[in-house]
């Protein structure tokens, strides 16, 4: 009797295991959930954009970041787009850490509840491989509304393109820069040593006239947000000196991480020292917090994307209008000798791109929020989604959005840099516009610019392993050696899981970009 019951129990368990496995791996019936191959997608009309298009009755579900920046311009312009075309754009905004997971789960399980995404273009390695995203190459090249040639070459050919195909439409252009109070600081920092010295000089002084001591430096260091990019900006000049193609994350011959050497140890030390001149709870501040502190006059220096430049213009929230300068991310007078893992002084051989002995390596971190379309969405939804993204990116809309701090969008089109009227319209003086746009252009044109990591599992390398290790380092849980070892082990584990050769090829390809 007992054995019979055991048999029944075993059979039930086996059925459950089988159903669990088959439920999670519908490999035998992928047809209904597999995204339609891009090659079979009907070619859209040459100008599938807002004007003259009728998408009445079509609703596009769009997933993005709940900033509140990024979602703001999409939500604000969606009703205008609906009035133009009839298409309803439903913007679903979630936390930064959730975007990747929601998007990839939605696509991989075939749920396809989202028709479009505005997300990190550095994740394309994970999304284009399985064919989740619509190939937009033919659309953008033939669409006068999106004016593809006006998009900056870096954003067009690197951010939007993967494996030679266009998958995203840029809505934002991102570089790290250093902001400084131009009314307090005559000579902005050129090196990270300068940065610490300037921060020390102003730390503890009242910088905004409220009688309270303020801070020398404000850099968002909260775990689980967007803080892990700063350490690469600090380390950039130490890790990369021979030009963009050299790469700053991995050795381009062995795929071994470059973050376990004297250079990265120095970067970690410098990064931690900035906390000596920051708010007491800096370890728990996100970029929204540090931007608020800077624009209310509480910080002498900050590192950020282009957002502080436009947020500082808003009279409703800013007390530092016309008191903000921007400068290319500071560099170093030393760099890494990759053969020995030691630091060497910069000279014409070791730092061929150095300016006045300083090796700058501005970091194109993140790259800018970009719109992509679900390849498995219905054709009319794809068309409407494309039309909306093109509408958002079109110079008429984007040239206004990039001047507004609340959007989170920064300049990325040639016309954004050349047309100064829009900047004047929001209260930026010619001098301030020259300074702000000049800092972005200087970064963009630097031959030693550091490209963000852009290979499969980029999110795991950066947001999971690097972010946790650096947060443990600044919290004092790990010393520099332990931090570097943890990053190296974690990155090697991911590389080996995916396949070292495949990852190396992907990394080499990502560095071969032409600007």
């Amino acid at each position: 009797m007992v054995s019979r019951y055991r048999l029944v129990a075993a059979a039930i368990t086996a059925i459950f295991i089988a159903s669990a496995c088959s439920g999670a791996t519908p490999s035998s019936a992928p047809a209904s959930v597999a995204p339609a191959p891009s090659a079979t997608v009907a070619e859209p009309a040459p100008s599938a954009s807002a004007a003259g298009q009728d998408f009445t009755g079509v609703t596009v579900e769009l997933l993005t970041f709940n900033g509140p920046q990024i979602a703001e311009p999409l939500q604000r312009r969606a009703p205008d787009f609906e009035a133009l075309t009839g298409a309803k754009i439903n913007v679903v905004a979630v936390g930064f850490q959730e975007i990747y997971d929601k998007a990839i789960l939605d696509l991989s399980t075939g749920t396809n509840s989202f028709d479009a995404f505005v997300f990190n273009p550095q994740w394309l390695g994970d999304f284009t491989g399985p064919g989740y995203l619509e190939d937009l190459t033919s659309r953008v090249e033939s669409d006068p509304v999106v004016d593809w040639q006006d998009v900056g070459p870096f954003f067009r050919d690197f951010n939007a393109t993967y494996g030679g195909k266009v998958y995203t439409i840029p809505l934002d252009g991102d570089f790290h820069m250093v902001y400084y109070r131009s009314d307090l600081i005559d000579t902005p920092p050129k090196t990270w040593d300068d940065y610490l010295a300037v921060a020390a000089e102003h730390h503890g002084k009242d910088l905004n006239g409220d009688g309270e001591p303020d801070y020398g430096s404000c850099i968002a260091k909260k775990k689980g947000q967007q803080s892990f990019w700063w350490i690469i900006s600090v380390a950039g000049g130490l890790l990369q000196s021979k030009g963009t193609g050299e790469g700053a994350f991995f050795d381009t011959t062995t795929m071994q991480p470059l973050l376990n050497n004297e250079a990265f140890a120095k970067a970690l030390d410098t990064y931690k020292k900035t906390m000596d001149f920051g708010p007491p709870d800096e370890i728990n501040l996100g970029v929204g917090d540090t931007r608020g502190l800077f624009t209310t006059g509480r910080c002498a220096l900050s590192m950020d994307w282009g957002d502080i430049g436009t947020l500082a213009l808003d009279p409703a929230t800013s007390t530092v209008q016309d008191k903000v300068g921007a400068v290319i991310t500071p560099g170093w007078t030393q760099t890494l000798d990759r053969a020995t893992g030691k630091l060497v002084a910069c000279d014409a051989t070791t730092c061929p791109n150095a300016v006045d002995g300083v090796n700058y390596a501005p970091f194109a971190s993140f790259g800018g929020w970009s719109g992509a379309i679900n390849a498995a969405a219905a054709q009319e939804k794809k068309d409407a989604a494309y039309a909306f993204l093109a509408y958002m990116s079109a110079p008429a809309q984007s040239s206004e959005d990039v001047t507004l701090g609340k959007t989170g969008f920064n300049p990325y089109r040639t016309s954004h840099f050349e047309t100064r009227d829009v900047w004047k319209a929001v209260g930026m003086s010619d001098q301030a516009a020259d300074n702000y746009l000049g800092a972005i252009e200087a970064s963009l044109q630097n031959p030693n610019m550091v490209l963000d990591l852009r290979i499969p599992k980029t999110k795991e390398y950066e947001q999971d392993v690097l972010d946790v290790a650096v947060s443990q380092y600044i919290a004092g849980e790990l010393n520099a050696e332990e931090t570097m070892q943890q990053i190296t082990d974690g990155w090697n584990q991911i590389t080996d899981q995916v396949g070292r050769d495949a990852q190396l090829k992907a990394y080499q390809d990502s560095l071969g970009v032409q600007r």
């Binding site: 019979r4 791996t25 597999a34 775990k223 708010p279 728990n284 999971d464 919290a475 849980e477």
Partner: protein, 397 residues
């Protein structure tokens, strides 16, 4: 109405009667009985027990089996589907011996002299308890084996605590941090709950009002409590900023110091769960036979003697149950550290559940399930050990 001819048998032992264990024959008989009348006990078992069994299988056993499968797997996102690749013990290997070891177990360093003393004392207690349990009566071989395994596990956990908390340069991982939350939280919550219950049972003015007030934290969602404490521990901008300022703590921050952050989590958790302890102990205290206490006072007992020799023994069964419930619940703490500190600074306030949640959120479902099973094992062993320990001491007279 025809029936099997027997009265409805409610004795659990009846489940093993021959009719029930005959399988197909039972099925036929049950159907016949159904045709003959619903009062048949065999039919009742089919009607009442099997739906329950099916529900339990789907809601409890299936997730358990599915998550066990996941614990030995890795998810791979492929074209239009998710592949579940079997990876054996890899997830456990990474957690216990690989790149996640310091995250889970902490940074282990040789104990300080104090650490050795604590380990020695703890080990003595464990060995005495083990010897007592093995020699206290008839013990089956399997029972002896399980007790020895439990003692080894307890000694291992003690060694882990000593190496991470009482060592030079050691650091607790999420496992030890969880145990800190559980044991420190239970002690504080029990003492506060008992104190409040003893106060609320007194015939004081306004005690009804305070009973309701003491209960309020229990009605708030844990996420809400997390956000509330996040604001309250913000010394620079929070609602308690003036008080922190007066105390000279305006520049102090709870979130940058690992122990301050852990204490903040324990305070928040205590605030939320003390009312649960309070209300159960209050009920127990109100159910006490006052005549016994009055008789003790007549015999010259002091209030302290009355408390230790009458009240405490009377509420002991309830107290052990509360502690058991809080023990099991406490191991699952996730909202407070997640909202209050995000698990930081670094990973200093991460509990096991939060670590599993973060792995799950980053789509590392295999590792998340492995952590969940480690937690399940730990809770089962500790709760079973706790119950067995008390069972040996509270025997019906």
């Amino acid at each position: 109405m025809a029936s099997s001819g027997r009265p409805l048998d409610l004795d659990p032992r009846g489940v093993t009667n021959p009719d029930v264990t005959r399988g197909p024959r039972l099925h036929r008989r049950a159907i016949l009985s159904l045709g003959g009348g619903w009062r048949s006990d065999a039919a009742a078992r089919w009607v009442f027990i099997w739906p329950t069994v099916v529900v339990i299988l789907f809601l409890s056993i299936f997730p358990l089996v599915a998550s066990l499968t996941l614990a030995f797997s890795e998810l791979v996102f492929a074209r239009g589907r998710i592949e579940v690749d079997f990876v054996g013990l890899q997830n456990f290997q990474i957690l216990l011996f690989g790149t996640e070891r310091t995250h889970l177990l902490g940074l282990l360093k040789p104990p300080t002299p104090l650490g050795w003393v604590i380990f020695g004392l703890g080990l003595t207690v464990i060995l005495r308890s083990l010897v007592g349990s093995l020699t206290g009566g008839h013990v089956r071989p399997l029972g002896a084996l399980l007790r020895i395994a439990g003692a080894v596990l307890a000694a291992g956990l003690l060694w882990l605590v000593v190496q991470t908390l009482f060592s030079e340069g050691g650091r607790p991982g999420s496992l030890v941090v969880t145990m800190i939350y559980v044991f420190a939280g239970i002690v504080v919550q029990f003492l506060l709950g008992l104190g409040l219950a003893l106060l609320a049972v007194q015939p004081l003015a306004g005690r009804r009002f305070f009973r309701i007030v003491f209960m309020l934290p229990l009605t708030i969602t844990p996420i809400g409590v997390g956000y509330m404490f996040r604001m309250m521990t913000d010394t620079g901008k929070g609602p308690l900023e003036p008080i922190f300022g007066l105390l000279g703590m305006g520049q102090y921050t709870w979130v940058t110091d690992p122990w301050a952050a852990r204490i903040a989590v324990i305070i928040g958790d205590t605030w939320q769960w003390t009312p649960f302890v309070f209300i159960v102990l209050l009920a127990a205290l109100e159910g006490l036979d006052q005549e016994v206490r009055e008789a003790a006072f007549v015999d010259g007992a002091s209030h302290r003697q009355s408390f230790w020799h009458i009240t405490v023994p009377a509420i002991l069964p309830v107290s052990t149950t509360i502690v058991l419930i809080r023990l099991i619940e406490g191991f699952k703490i996730v909202d407070m550290p997640n909202i209050l500190t995000g698990g930081g600074p670094g990973t200093a306030t991460q509990s096991l559940t939060l670590q599993a949640y973060l792995d799950w959120r980053t789509l590392n479902l295999g590792r998340s399930a492995a952590i969940a099973y480690i937690l399940l094992f730990l809770v089962t062993v500790i709760a079973t050990g706790y119950v067995a320990w008390w069972r040996r001491r509270i025997r019906p007279v």
